[in-house]
């Protein structure tokens, strides 16, 4: 399927033909979570023709990342009437990059509605959204739908202590306040500071799905648009100001929201900042080339059996196994995922058992021996794995557990031994008594 799509894309003659073939490819590939899903069709909507020149390095990098996996990138200007996610009522793209902060409509419908349904319907869509001081209310509400709120003083973020010294512009931030861990950002991206100028965002700390890739400092605050004077509204300032925010939704779609168009520009990529590496890392995370997991087959069977059963009995010993794989973009294949904190629960309203998987040599997660509890009912095995940056894994397998049959109980109950001995002593006593009655004179 990927080869057909690539051939159609190579002959750029008919946009329509290519888009229809792409739609078919998406439909065919959307069912399988395999290699075809990583061949992504990306639509890039740019503000104007000028953006193609000022952001040429980033657009080239997008094309390079896509073609390595067998996908393709379509760059269109916002005013182009053919810039549309849908072709004949079917989605024709997997990923969307919006380098157009003033965009209000896409394909004739309102931007927020179209992109929200794009993210909701379908498997693992990707969206990159960029705001600016002149962004439209559609872009603002689209970001809010994803859990990222652009700050209400809608001017640039200013920091008097962490700006690029040689330009003297105190809204041009140099921030090294990166997120923890190397799931999304590699170590090389964190070595140099990031150059950024734009509108800050606020991500609620209680939000389990959205997080910040890079934040401001405690000295950062947002200005109102068109003014350089401070206002009283400094509700979300300081370290709560997120410069680039990431969201991973429950259906494993990934969204990046950045307040700065300049962060992606050629001017900022050069000059020793980490912009190029940062943008590449975050883009490959959003597009699903990085930290992408798939889990299949939560299997359970009796220890020593080969097949799983429909019904188990209390106090049975089970072995549970799970295969989790991670996509490796370099080798272009699924490799076993290595983790030591994958857990499985046996739940009936509340978890009755919870154990951690061990990994065997082939990378299969398994629990070698799990004894079912002494409670019967309809249980389910639940694997719920939500780690920052990795895809959400949620698997459930229903398992009825029955009580003992009447012939599966122990024959003699230990607690009843005193009662057994009482009756036996009466028997023995009666025997001795009978003999003595009959044989004494």
């Amino acid at each position: 399927v990927a080869a057909v799509v690539a051939a159609a894309m190579a002959s750029r003659r008919g946009m329509r033909v290519a888009a229809v073939v792409a739609a078919l490819a998406v439909l065919a590939g959307a069912g399988a979570a395999g290699e075809a899903a990583q061949a992504r069709q990306t639509l890039v909507v740019v503000e104007s023709e000028n953006v193609r020149k000022t952001h040429s390095q980033y657009l080239a990098k997008l094309g390079e990342l896509a073609s390595k996996s067998g996908g393709a990138v379509d760059v269109k200007v916002a005013s182009d009437p053919t810039a549309n996610l849908k072709e004949l009522e079917e989605w024709s793209y997997d990923s969307l990059v919006l380098l157009a902060p003033t965009l209000t409509a896409l394909g004739g419908d309102s931007l927020a509605e179209t992109v929200t349904s794009f993210v909701d319907e379908g498997v693992a869509r990707s969206v990159i959204l960029v705001g600016s001081t002149e962004m439209s209310s559609e872009v603002r509400s689209l970001a809010a739908e994803c859990g990222v709120a652009f700050t209400t003083p809608n001017g640039n973020v200013q920091d008097h202590f962490h700006y690029q010294q040689k330009s003297g512009d105190q809204t041009l931030l140099e921030s090294s306040n990166y997120m923890q861990g190397n799931v999304v950002l590699s170590e090389s991206a964190k070595k140099a500071p990031l150059l950024w100028r734009g509108v800050g965002q606020y991500v609620d700390p209680n939000n389990e799905l959205a997080f910040s890739a890079i934040r401001g400092y405690s000295t950062s605050y947002s200005l109102p648009a068109g003014s350089s004077a401070l206002t009283k509204d400094l509700k979300y300032s300081g370290e709560a100001t997120s410069l680039v925010s990431l969201v991973q939704t429950r259906n494993n779609a990934r969204v990046m929201v950045s307040g700065s168009m300049d962060m992606f520009s050629d001017a900022f990529f050069s000059g020793g900042s980490s912009n190029a590496r940062f943008c590449e890392d975050v883009t490959s995370w959003v597009m699903g080339y990085k930290a992408l997991l798939r889990a299949e087959g939560l299997k359970h069977r009796l220890v020593g059996a080969t097949e799983s059963q429909d019904v188990y009995r209390i106090k049975d010993e089970l072995t549970v196994s799970l295969v989790v794989q991670q996509w490796d973009a370099v080798l272009q294949k699924w490799l076993p995922f290595k983790a030591n904190d994958m857990q499985v629960e046996l739940t009936m309203l509340d978890p009755h058992l919870r154990t951690t998987f061990q990994q065997n040599k082939e990378g299969v997660f398994e629990v070698p021996r799990m004894m079912l509890p002494d409670v019967y009912g309809i249980f389910k095995f639940v694997v719920d794995y939500n780690r920052l940056g990795y895809s959400h894994i949620h698997l459930e397998e229903q398992v009825p557990i029955r009580p003992f049959r009447h012939d599966e109980y122990e024959r003699f109950i230990v607690a009843a031994y005193p009662y057994y001995s009482g009756i036996l002593s009466v028997m023995a006593g009666f025997f001795v008594f009978g003999l003595s009655v009959l044989y004494t004179k």
Binding site: I413, A415, A416, Y419, G422, I423, V426, G429, V437, T440
Partner: protein, 107 residues
């Protein structure tokens, strides 16, 4: 005063009881044994719990039933009116039946 009267009653009882025949003494001892076993079963049920309740009932009632059957055996031969063997045969059948039922119920 009451204690003195009790002691007198016990003394008279011991004297008179010594005059009963050996056979009846054996029967009386079996009755007392059966009741004591029933008391042990009930004490166990109080202390440890009546977990397999059917076993608890079976053993207690078996012991009490044995005591009652033996007491009725003693009543029938005590007056000296019937032959021991005939009464004993009835008593045996009843006891075997009681033990069969209680073994079946204890599980």
């Amino acid at each position: 005063m009451l204690v003195g009267e009790l002691k007198e009653i016990c003394g008279v009882f011991r004297q008179e009881y010594g005059k009963t025949s050996k056979m009846l003494k054996i029967v009386d001892s079996f009755v007392i044994f059966a009741i004591a076993t029933a008391a042990v079963q009930m004490a166990n049920a109080l202390l440890v719990g009546t977990f397999p309740f059917n076993a608890c009932l079976a053993s207690t009632l078996c012991c009490l039933g044995a005591a009652i059957l033996t007491a009725s055996f003693r009543m029938q031969i005590g007056g000296g009116k019937s032959r021991v063997e005939k009464v004993f045969a009835d008593y045996c059948v009843a006891m075997i039946f009681l033990i069969f039922v209680s073994i079946s119920y204890v599980g």
